[in-house]
Symmetry: none
Subunit: 195 residues, 4 copies
DNA sequence: GCGTAATCGAGACGGTACGTCTTGTCTTTAG
DNA sequence: CTAAAGACAAGACGTACCGTCTCGATTACGC
């Protein structure tokens, strides 16, 4: 797709990219987000610091890509009921937030994003976009089934789902018990259903 | 027994305490949580750094006290319906998270608390305890009215409410529109009501 | 002799004085002059810092008293010859500078005295006075014997003796070999003798 | 062999080096050795603290280089007599110790060197080496002339000369009167001469 | 095949924050 | 008034990281 070779001079080594991302992921898991420094990432990747800064504007962007680009692009669930779909959706959200690197990185990462006006605007798109896409499909089907109103506020529900999972799993550190997704889905589904 | 050990030596000057807390609040508002340093707080308070470290173990503890000890000790709402009570509760939660200092401090503060095992254990008690107390009362009344089951999971609901508000207001930075509390309360109330 | 009781209120505890001096001596030996702090001395002496500052103006004065008040007031040597007397005098000087506490304290102590205008004026009197007294007597006898001129400059000779011992023993850290005093005395004696 | 390892990475800026040395010299003169801090030196040099610590292990090493690398490499004096040569040698020693920066730095500097085992071993080589070299030449000539014995102890004489000057000029702070070098040289020369 | 130019690893650079230490003073209670 | 205890303002300590910069050395492209 159109990669425009603005290429003069030596092209960037793709192996560096991958080495940096791996090093970042490992460090976040091993020492945490706060103690993960660009210098340490570069050193572990066997790379100069500039090679990192040439590709990412800073630690938040780098760690975000390192940790959250495993977004496998799961298709939207289709269990036949809103509650079922939300359960599935929440299950993958819990899984995503509970993965070692994500759990270690999320609070600090969100804080850094929130602190920078430019990055703050990207929280919705970067962190929530994939989930929102799937939630939209789930809602479409639920509307078609007559379960929910057509104007059910997607963003508010999404914030609620993500916020609940983030608080419960990421912050409070509760081990995500098996029933969490189901129970939360049940409450929200019932809460937004028409009848 | 009886020997009160803290009465030896010069007592801590309460004016220092207050000056530090004020300086911390101001700095968090002016430059943000990340850029607020203990040294700068001490300097603005006209105090030595030791005087800060003598009272707080670090920035997270200090800023937490500075920003969240306005615990107004509001009584639990009693509007007659669960939805009404939750609306009131959420309104004060939104207000609390949206206050200048709190909004500036929250993401970074939660990140620092989450990164330290000792502090992480205190998130629930320090940040959520007051709200939980009031939610418990609201639930008691709702149970008495027959609106909800006696075993409705308080912590899960609280995490959901707090998480939703934190994500919507604190992170995504949405200006908290007037209807937010009401809409969210409606969804949750309906979601957990028996019928 | 005549302790005038200017005493109102609680009198100073002489045991404190001794405890402080002992603690200072020990610390100087154990951790060196630079690392010996008033606070540490007070703590080891089981005494408040003020109790130290009430008696001494600072570390230099305290350590000086702790380390150099063992000046036993040895009588001036009288061996019958200038060279012999100087040898004896130098021997006690070497011994004094080489004692554990003195060796550890001297360089830093002299530096602190030299850095403070008030104390600097006291180096000659505090450190060198006892030796000068004895040297004067030695010189008187040598003048009487006709070995040296009556106007032989005592201060210059004393500075030379003390400086040589300080450099050789205190700074360069040479173990003071047995012959040092004799050899140095021989050179100086011969150097100042009339013939 | 041949692979010169220090050619990797950005080379150290010699202007920083010079700026630091100048700043150190100025500060020592203005506020004294004790009050000269690495931080203040760095600030005045317009340089980060790391840039200082990258080149010197600490204040003693830095100040030593700043103050005593004016090693003019004066040739050994050759006046025809031992007394004359020693006078010349002492004159330059007095001059060196009496220079503004040196006089301000010497006592503290020697104390810091003496306090550190590693540095202590370097006092003889760093501070005294240039003088010793010249004294050796002076001695050689005096031996050739038959003035002194071949085994006259250079180190002891050097310690005596340096110690005397240090005590008289550096510590006691006597203004170095014009005759000092001559008088001291006369005593020592006479003291070590064969006849 | 040759210059131009961007990238590479390395590490120096000016800043700034860290949390601890020491200084000499001050303020409490106890004697 | 002294004593022990310890708080207080000030500021230095040496380390870490930040994001930028300057090296010499590669490695591609367009000519």
């Amino acid at each position: 797709m159109s990669s425009f070779p603005s290429s003069r001079g030596r092209p960037r080594d793709p192996r560096s990219h991958e080495a940096i991302v791996s090093a970042a992921t490992e460090l976040v898991i091993e020492v945490g987000y706060a103690a993960t420094s660009i210098g340490a990432v570069a050193a572990r990747a066997g790379v100069g610091k500039d090679t990192v800064y040439r590709r990412w504007r800073g630690k938040p962007e780098l760690v975000f890509e390192a940790v959250f680009t495993t977004t496998d692009h799961v298709p939207a669930p289709d269990t036949g009921t809103l509650a079922g779909d939300l359960t599935a959706l929440l299950r993958s959200l819990v899984e995503e937030f509970h993965a070692p690197a994500a759990a270690a990185a999320l609070p600090g990462l969100l804080a850094d994003f929130a602190a920078d006006p430019v990055l703050k605007a990207r929280i919705r798109s970067d962190f929530l976009a994939p989930s929102k896409e799937r939630l939209l499909i789930v809602f479409e089907r639920a509307v078609a089934r007559g379960e929910i109103a057509a104007d059910t506020p997607v963003d508010l529900v999404l914030d609620t789902l993500a916020g609940a999972v983030f608080f419960h799993v990421g912050l409070v550190g509760e081990r995500p018990d098996r029933q969490l997704a189901g129970r939360l889905a049940a409450v929200i589904a019932k809460g937004i259903e028409i009848r």
